[in-house]
């Protein structure tokens, strides 16, 4: 499974965040922000990626704008980074949509199509001609040619060519998007259709030029800490596999950077498990054929925007983040709450929840530690005030939610789980089919997680999948059973 392959684009984005945080915590914020592109590409430095140093700096400038939390497409070219840095500290509410496109970095990739390469031998068998159902491919002058007005890009010719001479050219972001929300306009530039976008973040990971950016809340969060507000961190379960330290050390490290308290979202996951298993029993008794989980934010947005017909089958239980934020705000009505997230989609969910004020993703937290040179594994451990169950702490791993629900069901009522481990176009077609037919042959509890591997494969994670899983599993194995936690 190739989840979280290392990329230069992540290095760039994290370096910018770290510099931005350092600038904001320093004494010369606006000017230091203005200088970030020059610090990263000083006079006479190498030009590793683009045509010249000026373009490199221009693109870095745009990345800083996203780091400041603004929409790159809306900011005027002439505006100084120092002015924007100042504006970022004066904004009351963060921008609504979490993604923004960096047009200057967009490669204007070759449009997606089928292409016959020079390897074509104009062979006698010509399986490409016979397999094409649209009459779009013919051998002319000893080489196969495609009539693009007829070609439907089905890719059959690619599969049958004995020389592997035909290839499918893809636009990585378009190819990664499961809902057709990102595409090139007539002008060749890529745009996101926010009406269709489910914030899954697959385009962020897919773009080899790093042209899709997350608008950060980092300045807003640090501002609240600087202003002496009580800021409470709520950690999604997948975070426990992200940094080279114990969960207790992580808590202390987060307290050290200025948070007042640190709460595990596993706390809310135990409530989700309890409600969702009761709901499952009730639905099965009423004769419903299947139920889907409801904790993945990208899946929830998919349902709202693209598969409304599956709503009657989706669990109406709230997400662990919802219950956690509710508990935290009830106990601390004056606190500012920050949800620590593995992905882009949770940003959307959080912005619609009045109990969650901001979202910090794992990359941003990592950059914060980098900026302050904090060694997480040298921190003293600090215990969490409330105990959560093993099942709840395993919510971020594919299969974890279904397993948690099942752990509260009696043997004769156990659910047969069908696990959707990463959403793609084919999985979406299947979900539509289940909704239409009112049943799913593969199981009666469908767990949907948009990212392969679960939240550990989220687009804002730091650690590679395998070591992250090992770390989370270690924590899960040292935690109490859900039945013992709920009883208390």
């Amino acid at each position: 499974m190739s989840i979280n392959t290392p990329k230069q684009t992540s290095h760039l984005k994290r370096e910018i965040l770290a510099r931005l945080i350092r600038a904001y915590l320093g004494n010369n914020y606006e000017e230091d922000v203005r200088l970030i592109p020059y610090m990263m590409r000083p006079q006479g430095s190498e030009v590793p990626f683009r045509c010249c140093i000026h373009k490199e700096r221009a693109i870095l400038r745009d990345r800083v704008i996203a780091g400041l939390g603004f929409d790159i497409e809306e900011v005027k070219d002439s505006e100084l980074l120092s002015t924007l840095a100042d504006k970022a500290t004066k904004r009351e509410v963060p921008e609504e949509h979490p993604l923004t496109l960096l047009q200057t970095a967009c490669n204007e990739c070759v449009p997606a199509r089928i292409h016959v390469t020079d390897l074509c031998q104009g062979c006698v068998a010509r399986p490409c001609e016979s397999v094409c159902r649209f009459g779009a491919i013919k051998v002319e002058n000893g080489k196969s040619r495609i009539d693009h007005s007829k070609c439907k890009s089905c890719g059959m010719c690619v599969q049958v060519c004995p020389f592997q001479a035909i290839t499918k050219i893809i636009v990585p972001c378009e190819n990664a998007c499961p809902v057709g929300a990102i595409a090139k306009d007539e002008d060749g530039l890529t745009r996101i259709d926010h009406e269709k976008c489910i914030s899954c973040g697959k385009c962020v990971s897919a773009c080899p030029f790093g042209a899709v950016h997350k608008k950060s809340h980092i300045i807003d969060i640090i501002k609240n800490i600087k202003n002496g507000k009580k800021v409470i961190a709520m950690l999604a379960p997948s975070i426990m596999g992200q940094l080279p330290c114990t969960p207790q050390q992580l808590k202390q490290a987060i307290l050290d950077i200025g948070f007042s308290d640190v709460v595990e979202v596993a706390l809310g996951a135990d409530v989700t498990t309890k409600n969702e298993s009761a709901e499952f029993i009730e639905r099965m008794e009423k004769g419903q054929e299947f139920m889907t989980t409801s904790c993945c934010a990208a899946y929830n947005e998919l349902v709202e925007k693209h598969i409304p017909e599956i709503k009657p089958y989706r669990s109406s239980t709230h997400t662990p983040a919802y219950y956690t934020a509710e508990i935290v705000k009830k106990e601390n009505p004056d606190a500012v709450t920050v949800f620590f997230s593995p992905c882009v989609a949770k940003r959307r969910e959080a912005m619609q929840n009045p109990n969650i004020d901001y979202v910090l993703n794992y990359e941003e937290l990592g950059a914060w530690f980098v900026a302050l040179n904090i060694q997480v594994n040298e921190c003293e451990g600090s215990e969490y005030a409330k105990e959560s169950s093993a099942q709840a702490r395993n919510y971020g791993v594919t299969g974890g939610v279904a397993a948690a629900v099942n752990s509260l069901l009696d043997d004769d009522k156990k659910a047969k789980a069908h696990i959707i481990n990463g959403l793609d176009k084919a999985q979406i077609r299947d979900l539509k089919k289940f909704a239409k037919n009112g049943k799913c042959e593969l199981g009666n509890l469908i767990e949907v997680m948009a990212c392969p591997g679960g939240c550990l494969g989220g687009s804002s994670t730091i650690n590679a999948f395998k070591p992250a899983l090992k770390q989370v599993t270690g924590y899960v194995e040292s935690s109490p059973d859900v039945k013992d936690v709920i009883k208390k």
């Binding site: 392959t5 290392p6 594994n377 730091i462």
Partner: protein, 87 residues
Amino acid sequence: MEKVSVKVCLGTTCFVMGSANLQELIDIVPRKYGDKVDVSGVPCLGLCATDWEFSKAPYVKVNNDVIKEATVEKVIAAIDAKLLKKV
């Protein structure tokens, strides 16, 4: 023959800037080189506090050579170079 030593920095800065993905070296290297190479993940080597700070992290040390902006490929190439010299 003296062993080649490979130290993958797992300090927080290196980890965030990319050594999370270098942890696979700890599996790959013994499989590829057997006991000719010693590989381990180590706490902060202190390199992020010097010259290029965090911008050139992650760092890996192969014997006494520092590899900046380390990748699995760069580290393997450096090990190969060390082993070749000794033959």
